[in-house]
C-alpha cells in the first residue's frame, strides 16, 4: 500500500504558493477546474483509488525504481558519494509516466472518454499515449511544429500507440504553444475531455496534483536512502524545466531542513547570451498558462523564445512551487549550459554505463561540480529523470555523426 499523500500546507485553497500559482484562465475553464479539484481532493484520499494507483505503479510502471550508488564516478570525482534515483528505468523511459498513470485513472473515475496532452520532447506525450492505449481512451497530443521535426522518433511512438499528434503552427511553435493549443482544445471539449498536463504548471489544481503524483519519487528515495545508508542525503539535485521531476524528488524532503536542494535550469548557450531556458535564474514573475510564476519575457511582457539542447527543458515558465521555494530560500536554483550537459552525458555514459536523457544530464552536470566540493562522507542524490535513447540522434547530429 502506497504511503498516504503527505499533508502539506501549500498551496492554499485557491492554489497559491505565496504570491505564485493561482488560477488565471478564461471563465469557461473555471467550472471544469472546480470539478477537477473536487475529484482530485476526493480520490487522493480514497483508499480504493490509491490501491489501484499503487498497483499500476508497481506492475505497469515498474516501481519502486532503484537507487544506484555510482561508486566509480564518485571515486573519480574525489568528493561526495553520488547516488542516482533511477527514474530512467520506468516504463516509457522517464518519470513522466508516474503522473500520466495517476491522471488517467482520475479521468476514468470522472467519466471522461478522451484525454489530451501537450508535449515538448515527446516524453509526456508518449507517457500519455501509453496509458490512453491501456485504458482504451481517445488520445490527442499537441506538439509544437518545431518539436515534431526534432523529435520524430517520439512522434512515431505516439502514433504507434494510437494517439493523434497535432503539430502546432502558432507562436514560436514549441512547447508553450502546444500548451496554449491544448488549453483551446480543452475549453472547446470540456464535457468529455480530460487535459493531462505534464508538469507542475498550469492553473490550480495542476501544480499540486502533478506534484502529488510525482512525489512517489521522493517518498521512495527517502525510504531507500535510509535503508541503504542509514541517513538522509546531504543534497538533492534535479533538472528543472517545468519542474515535475524536481518537485517529485524535493517535496517529501521539504521539512528535512538539513537536506539541501538544487534545481538545475537549462542555461543553453549561457545565461549571459540570453539564449537559455532559465526563468528562475534570469527571469521575473508574471502570469502565463494559468499561474503566476517566474517567466522569460521581454520588457513589454511578451513571452520570449527559449533555447536549450534539451527539448524537455525548453519552456519559458516554471512550476509556481519552484518560484516559491526559490523566494523562501528552501531550494537553490542553478543552471548548466548545453556544453556542460553534453559533457556530463558522456561522463556518466562512460563511467557508469548509464545513458541519461539530455534533460537529466543537466542535473548530472551540476552534481559533477558539487560533489568535488564536498567530503567523501557526504551524499548527493541525483534524480536521473529519464534515459537518453530518445536523444541519440540529437547527440550524433551535434557531433557531426551521420547514423
Amino acid at each position: 500500500m502506497q504511503d498516504e499523500i503527505q499533508p502539506y500546507d501549500l498551496p492554499d485553497e485557491r492554489g497559491h504558493f505565496g504570491p505564485y500559482g493561482g488560477i488565471f484562465v478564461a471563465e469557461t475553464l473555471m467550472e471544469p477546474l472546480e470539478e477537477l479539484k473536487a475529484a482530485y481532493h476526493r480520490y487522493l484520499k480514497d483508499p480504493e483509488f490509491l490501491a489501484e494507483l499503487d498497483h499500476d505503479l508497481n506492475h505497469y510502471v515498474g516501481r519502486p525504481s532503484p537507487i544506484y550508488h555510482a561508486e566509480r564516478l564518485s571515486r573519480e570525482l574525489g568528493g561526495a558519494q553520488i547516488f542516482f534515483k533511477r527514474e530512467d528505468l520506468n516504463h516509457t523511459g522517464a518519470h513522466k509516466v508516474n503522473n500520466t498513470v495517476g491522471q488517467a485513472l482520475l479521468a476514468k473515475r470522472m467519466g471522461k472518454r478522451r484525454v489530451i496532452a501537450e508535449t515538448g520532447a515527446g516524453q509526456h506525450g508518449v507517457a500519455t499515449a501509453t496509458v490512453a492505449a491501456r485504458l482504451g481512451m481517445e488520445c490527442v497530443v499537441y506538439m509544437g511544429a518545431v518539436d515534431v521535426q526534432r523529435q520524430a522518433l517520439n512522434v512515431f511512438r505516439m502514433k504507434l500507440l494510437g494517439a493523434t499528434v497535432i503539430a502546432v503552427e502558432s507562436g514560436s511553435r514549441t512547447l508553450k504553444d502546444a500548451l496554449n493549443e491544448a488549453m483551446r482544445d480543452w475549453v472547446t471539449n470540456v464535457d468529455d475531455t480530460f487535459y493531462i498536463i505534464g508538469t507542475v504548471a498550469g492553473p490550480h489544481p495542476y501544480p499540486a496534483m502533478v506534484r502529488d503524483f510525482q512525489a512517489v519519487i521522493g517518498r521512495e528515495a527517502r525510504r531507500q536512502m535510509l535503508e541503504m545508508t542509514g541517513r538522509l542525503p546531504d543534497a538533492l539535485v534535479a533538472c528543472v524545466g517545468g519542474g515535475s521531476n524536481a518537485i517529485g524528488l524535493f517535496h517529501p524532503f521539504v521539512d528535512d531542513r538539513e537536506v539541501a536542494m538544487y534545481g538545475v535550469e537549462a542555461a543553453g548557450d549561457g545565461i549571459e547570451t540570453g539564449r537559455h531556458s532559465a526563468p528562475l535564474s534570469a527571469g521575473r514573475p508574471g502570469v502565463l498558462h494559468g499561474n503566476r510564476t517566474y517567466l522569460m519575457e521581454d520588457e513589454d511582457g511578451e513571452i520570449i523564445e527559449t533555447h536549450s539542447i534539451s527539448a524537455g527543458l525548453d519552456y519559458p515558465g516554471v512550476g509556481p512551487e519552484h518560484a516559491w521555494l526559490k523566494d523562501c530560500g528552501r531550494a537553490s536554483y542553478v543552471s548548466a549550459t548545453d556544453a556542460e550537459a553534453l559533457e556530463a552525458f558522456h561522463i556518466l555514459t562512460r563511467s557508469e554505463g548509464i545513458i541519461p536523457a539530455l534533460e537529466s544530464s543537466h542535473a548530472v552536470a551540476y552534481a559533477l561540480k558539487l560533489a568535488p566540493t564536498l567530503s567523501s562522507d557526504k551524499i548527493v542524490l541525483v534524480n536521473l529523470s529519464g534515459r537518453g535513447d530518445k536523444d541519440i540522434h540529437t547527440i550524433a547530429t551535434r557531433e557531426g555523426i551521420v547514423l
Partner: protein
C-alpha cells in the same frame, strides 16, 4: 457616470442595441488602427473593443492569434496600444474604448502604472481574459477608483454564484461568451444563448453583450433581439487577414460588414 454606462443608457432609451466591433491594435501594422477605429464609428459602432496583442493568446482561435502575431511583428505592445487610444481620443471624445487582452503585459507594466496610463489615454473599460474575479482582488478596486470599468466574461457554464460575483464587480456591461470554445468558433446555438441570457438577466441589471462566433448580420440581428450588445471580432479580423497589403480594401470590407450588421440590428 462612465462613458460606457451613458452609452448603454442612451441606447436603451432609443430602444437600440449596441454594436461592438473588436480589432487587434497594430494589426496588420500600427498605422492602420486609428483610421479604422474612426471608420468603424461612422459605420455604426457604439463601443470599440481593442485587442492588446499577446504572444500567448490562450483563449483565442486562429484568426485572432494571427492578428496578434502580425501586430507583434511591428513590436506592438500594451504601451503602444495606449498611445493609439490617446491618438483616437483626440478626434473622438464620445465612443467608449474597451481594452481586451491578457494579464501578463499588465503585470509587467504594473497595475497602478497601467491604470494611470489607461485613464490618461482615454480608455473606458478593461477586459482581462485570464483574470477571474478570484485573482482580481487588487486590480479591480484600482480600476474602480480610477473610474475605469472592469468588464467580465460570463460563460455558458458559469454558476449563478459566479455570475452574481462578476455582476457585483463588473461595470459598464457583462460579456457573455456564447459557446464553450475559443474566439471565432462556429457552433453557436442561439436558442441556448437566449435562454441563458434570460436567466442572467434575473441576476443582474448590467447590460449584457454577446460575443464569440458572431459571423454575419443575420446572427447579429438574432442576438440583438435578446441581448443589449453584439460583439463581432473574428469576422472583422478575417477582413484584415484577407487584405493585409491593401489597407484601403481591408478598411472598406470592415466598414461594409459593420454597416450591414448595423442595419440588421436596427430593423
Amino acid at each position: 457616470m462612465s462613458r460606457l454606462t451613458s452609452t448603454f443608457q442612451v441606447l436603451r432609451h432609443a430602444n437600440r442595441k449596441a454594436l461592438i466591433p473588436f480589432i487587434t491594435a497594430g494589426d496588420p501594422e500600427p498605422g492602420f488602427t486609428v483610421p479604422v477605429m474612426h471608420a468603424m464609428v461612422e459605420a455604426g459602432a457604439d463601443v470599440i473593443e481593442l485587442g492588446v496583442p499577446f504572444s500567448d493568446p490562450m483563449a483565442d482561435g486562429p484568426v485572432i492569434q494571427k492578428a496578434s502575431e502580425r501586430a507583434l511583428v511591428h513590436h506592438m505592445s500594451l504601451g503602444k496600444t495606449l498611445d493609439l487610444v490617446a491618438e483616437f481620443r483626440r478626434a473622438d471624445r464620445t465612443t467608449p474604448i474597451v481594452l481586451m487582452g491578457y494579464l501578463n503585459p499588465v503585470e509587467c507594466m504594473g497595475y497602478q502604472r497601467f491604470v494611470d496610463r489607461a485613464k490618461d489615454a482615454g480608455v473606458d473599460g478593461v477586459l482581462t481574459v485570464d483574470m477571474p474575479p478570484e485573482e482580481a482582488g487588487e486590480f479591480v478596486p484600482m480600476l474602480h477608483r480610477a473610474g475605469l470599468d472592469p468588464i467580465f466574461l460570463l460563460a455558458p457554464n458559469s454558476s449563478d454564484a459566479r455570475v452574481q460575483r462578476m455582476a457585483a464587480l463588473g461595470r459598464g456591461y457583462l460579456y457573455y461568451v456564447s459557446l464553450k470554445g475559443v474566439t471565432g468558433a462556429s457552433h453557436l446555438d442561439l436558442a441556448e444563448v437566449e435562454s441563458r441570457i434570460a436567466h442572467i438577466r434575473s441576476l443582474t441589471d448590467l447590460p449584457i453583450g454577446v460575443g464569440f462566433g458572431v459571423k454575419n448580420a443575420e446572427t447579429a440581428a438574432a442576438i440583438g433581439r435578446f441581448a443589449d450588445a453584439v460583439v463581432v471580432g473574428s469576422a472583422l479580423v478575417e477582413k484584415i487577414a484577407a487584405a493585409q497589403d491593401r489597407p484601403e480594401q481591408a478598411r472598406k470590407d470592415i466598414v461594409d460588414l459593420l454597416a450591414v450588421m448595423r442595419r440588421a440590428l436596427d430593423t
